[in-house]
């Protein structure tokens, strides 16, 4: 905020001639506008963003079941309980795993498809639509569809296994496999979104650069490696940013699929928050998870923006 006001006033200082500056535009021209337009936004922002965040931070120091007002101060015990909880460690690891898979599989897949579908070929729009379709689907609906696909009794997997004459795998009931089944759905669900970002990015690349590369005799790979990818840089950075933040907040896809089970093997931080905080009516513990998640997200978001997206 401070940074921003400084920038704005800085701009006005530089852009406005001396004479006008001394007449103080702030007092005469901007103040009424500020008084009229700032309070509604400030009020809403405070009411729905700042206040809940503050409340969550406050609750995290109490043992509270959600009724009445919290009275039992327990200090940092909720955080201690949290970091000693095996399920929360699993959730952290899973969140990390989802980020890694998003970055190593999903984003490259999206770039590859975008490069293919960025060309002007017949039928390309139809393919874009098909690949984008999973993203349009509601997360819960997608989760339910895949629960059926993976179902070992009546689902698609059961049918395929029956056809091949092998024993049906119950992937969602298998502690070791379930998380990979979830990861597959995550990739399926979100690669279309990243693909669309990249297609938009590709379309903004100047055609003449590509032509120049062709005239210089660049191969397909060289064109991609030395022309497309560098020019797509800002889009890649943005896409990675979305992938990381989205991965950290993954929830609605997992609940209908596994609900965090079996044996908490598919918990993420947010499903952990729901299972341990909300359904067990331990608002204090849930708030502590919320605070940890918030700190991780903010650190990553600002850190990433500062390091990788400085020039974008």
């Amino acid at each position: 905020m401070n940074n921003m006001t400084a920038k704005i006033s800085g701009a006005s200082v530089m852009g406005v001639p001396e004479k006008v500056r001394y007449k103080s535009p702030t007092a005469r021209g901007r103040l009424p506008a500020l008084i009229i337009f700032l309070p509604p936004a400030l009020l809403l922002f405070t009411l729905f963003v700042i206040l809940p965040m503050g409340e969550a931070a406050w609750y995290s120091f109490y043992r509270w079941n959600g009724y009445g007002t919290p009275t039992e101060f327990v200090g940092v015990r909720n955080f201690e309980v949290l970091f000693n909880n095996a399920a929360f460690s699993t959730a952290l690891i899973n969140n990390g795993l989802i980020i890694v898979v998003s970055l190593l599989l999903q984003v490259p897949l999206a770039i590859w498809l975008a490069v293919m579908l960025g060309k002007k070929i017949r039928g390309v729009v139809a393919f874009r639509l098909i690949f984008f379709l999973p993203y349009v689907l509601a997360d819960v609906a997608a989760g339910l569809i895949w629960r059926f696909v993976y179902d070992g009794d009546y689902g698609l997997f059961a049918a395929i296994a029956g056809f091949l004459g092998v024993a049906t795998p119950y992937v969602l009931a298998d502690r070791d496999l379930a998380i990979y089944a979830v990861l597959a759905v995550v990739i399926w669900k979100y690669f279309g979104f990243h693909m669309m970002l990249f297609i938009a990015g590709l379309q903004s690349i100047d055609k003449s650069v590509m032509e120049a590369a062709e005239i210089d005799g660049a191969t397909g790979w060289q064109k991609f490696r030395y022309v497309t990818l560098p020019l797509l840089g800002s889009t890649v950075r943005l896409s990675v940013f979305f992938a990381i933040i989205g991965s950290l907040q993954l929830f609605d896809l997992i609940m209908p699929l596994t609900g965090g089970g079996p044996s908490n093997s598919t918990q993420t931080m947010v499903t952990f928050l729901y299972t341990y905080g909300v359904t067990r009516m331990q608002v204090g513990l849930g708030s502590a998870v919320g605070v940890v998640l918030f700190v991780i997200c903010v650190t990553i978001a600002f850190g990433y923006k500062r390091i990788f997206m400085r020039n974008d």
């Binding site: 959600g66 009724y67 009794d153 009931a173 089970g261």
Partner: protein, 435 residues
């Protein structure tokens, strides 16, 4: 999903008739049809359409007698209901009354002042209202000498088995008296290539019945009550540990259908109804519910299903006649209208409870309403309940939402071989101490 049954029942003809009636009443100045309406919001988790229909009919009957009352049924899915209720009860959108499993959850709600204290109303005129229910039902919904819910139904958890599959494997249900007999039956069934038990590890609570029963059979009432009230060794009592060890022993036999760790309760009932597993530890209404959840919608024929109580543990302090099961009531929110309370009395009256029993919906909490029970399996459950020496509410309800969920987790983990009996008992004890 909201059932506004008044709205749904307006067919074209009725709308015309109603319009005509309204016009007439306006003409002649009778104001019955235009009287101010008290809306009574009734929140439930029932999914069987026939049962909801029965409730709607009862509501309609009441509305005919009380034209100024409009009863609206509101449905929430079981898990969503449990998660949403705390918030709902503290908001303006609180239902007038809602389904309750009693126990620690109800106690917690009562302590926060979110519920209406029904003691005075029930005990008025020398306990005229309270006396219409079985004493155990009223007692189970009373905390600190205050009644916090209107008794509705009682239930027992027991084993149901597929007679055909038992005969095929050569297992006789009558011979299963002890836990060892039971393990023997599991082995025999397994040997015959039949999955012995349908288990719902995805929802977790279907499997916590095993741990609960074993704790009851090993320790008896004294040990459980002490543990619940944080006295003595609590859940680290040797009898509780032994229960865990026996559970682990069952788990080692791999007694459940394939993929049981991912199966929710409807799928579990389906596995039993499809004949994919021979036994199910379930509620008194298992017979109708397995039908609904079976792949073909028909399930097992009623005469193909037998029932036996949870076996005893040799040397354990618990008796074969100690029962585990539900005690359900209707919790009334603090600001509920008098009409809501009056309707509840009507809904749980002997006459209505008898009718619901005759439809196989419930084992009634009202006195002398059992004769309505026509379903023989339910009748058996009711008789077992009547002879109960100790009726224990579901552990995950009785111990409150937080410890209860840990019991559910632990039961599944022990069965799956992910946790030892000691680790499980320790986890539950830790959770109890945090309460």
């Amino acid at each position: 999903m909201t059932y506004h049954h008044k709205a749904t029942s307006y067919t074209g003809v009725r709308i015309t008739a109603l319009a005509a009636a309204t016009a007439l009443s306006t003409l002649f100045g009778t104001h019955t049809a235009t009287a101010a309406q008290t809306v009574v919001k009734w929140m439930h988790v029932e999914t069987v359409p026939a049962y909801i229909k029965t409730w709607e009919d009862i509501a309609k009957k009441y509305e005919t007698q009380h034209p100024d009352v409009d009863i609206q049924l509101q449905f929430l899915e079981n898990e969503a209901f449990k998660a949403k209720l705390p918030t709902l009860l503290q908001s303006d959108a609180a239902p007038d009354f809602f389904y309750s499993w009693g126990g620690g959850v109800l106690r917690q709600q009562s302590q926060t002042g979110a519920l209406m204290n029904l003691t005075e109303a029930m005990n008025a005129n020398g306990g005229e209202w309270a006396k219409t229910y079985k004493p155990a039902a009223v007692a189970g919904l009373t905390f600190d000498d205050k009644i916090y819910a209107v008794p509705y139904r009682m239930g027992t958890v027991s084993f149901f088995y597929n007679k055909e599959l038992f005969a095929k494997a050569g297992v006789k249900a009558e011979d299963i008296k002890t836990w060892d007999d039971f393990l023997g039956a599991v082995k025999t069934l397994k040997g015959a290539g039949i999955a012995p038990i349908a288990g719902g590890g995805g929802d977790k609570w279907p499997l916590h019945f095993y741990w609960s029963f074993l704790v009851m059979r090993n320790g008896g009432e004294a040990v459980f009550e002490a543990a619940k009230n944080k006295e003595g060794e609590g859940f680290m009592h040797p009898a509780v540990i032994k229960a865990g060890e026996q559970l682990a022993e069952l788990g080692k036999l791999q007694p459940f259908q394939n993929g049981y760790l991912g199966a929710n309760w409807p799928q579990t009932l389906g596995a039993f109804g499809d004949g994919r597993a021979a036994m199910l530890l379930g509620f008194e209404n298992t017979e109708p519910n397995q039908r609904k959840n079976a792949g073909d919608g028909k399930g097992l024929a009623a005469d193909n299903i037998g029932r036996f109580g949870f076996p005893i543990v040799e040397g354990g302090a618990g008796k074969a006649t100690d029962t585990l099961g539900g005690l359900n009531g209707w919790g009334v929110s603090k600001n509920a209208s008098p009409a809501a309370v009056d309707f509840l009395r009507f809904l749980t009256s002997q006459e209505m409870e008898r009718q619901m029993a005759s439809e196989g919906m419930i084992i009634p909490a009202a006195v002398d309403a059992e004769e309505g029970l026509k379903n023989p399996l339910m009748r058996e459950s009711a008789d077992q309940l009547a002879a109960s020496t100790w009726h224990q509410n579901f552990f995950d309800q009785d111990l409150g939402p937080s410890v209860g969920r840990v019991v559910n987790d632990v039961s599944v983990e022990i069965l799956a071989g992910q946790m030892t009996a000691e680790e499980g008992a320790q986890a539950i004890q830790d959770a109890t101490e945090l309460e």
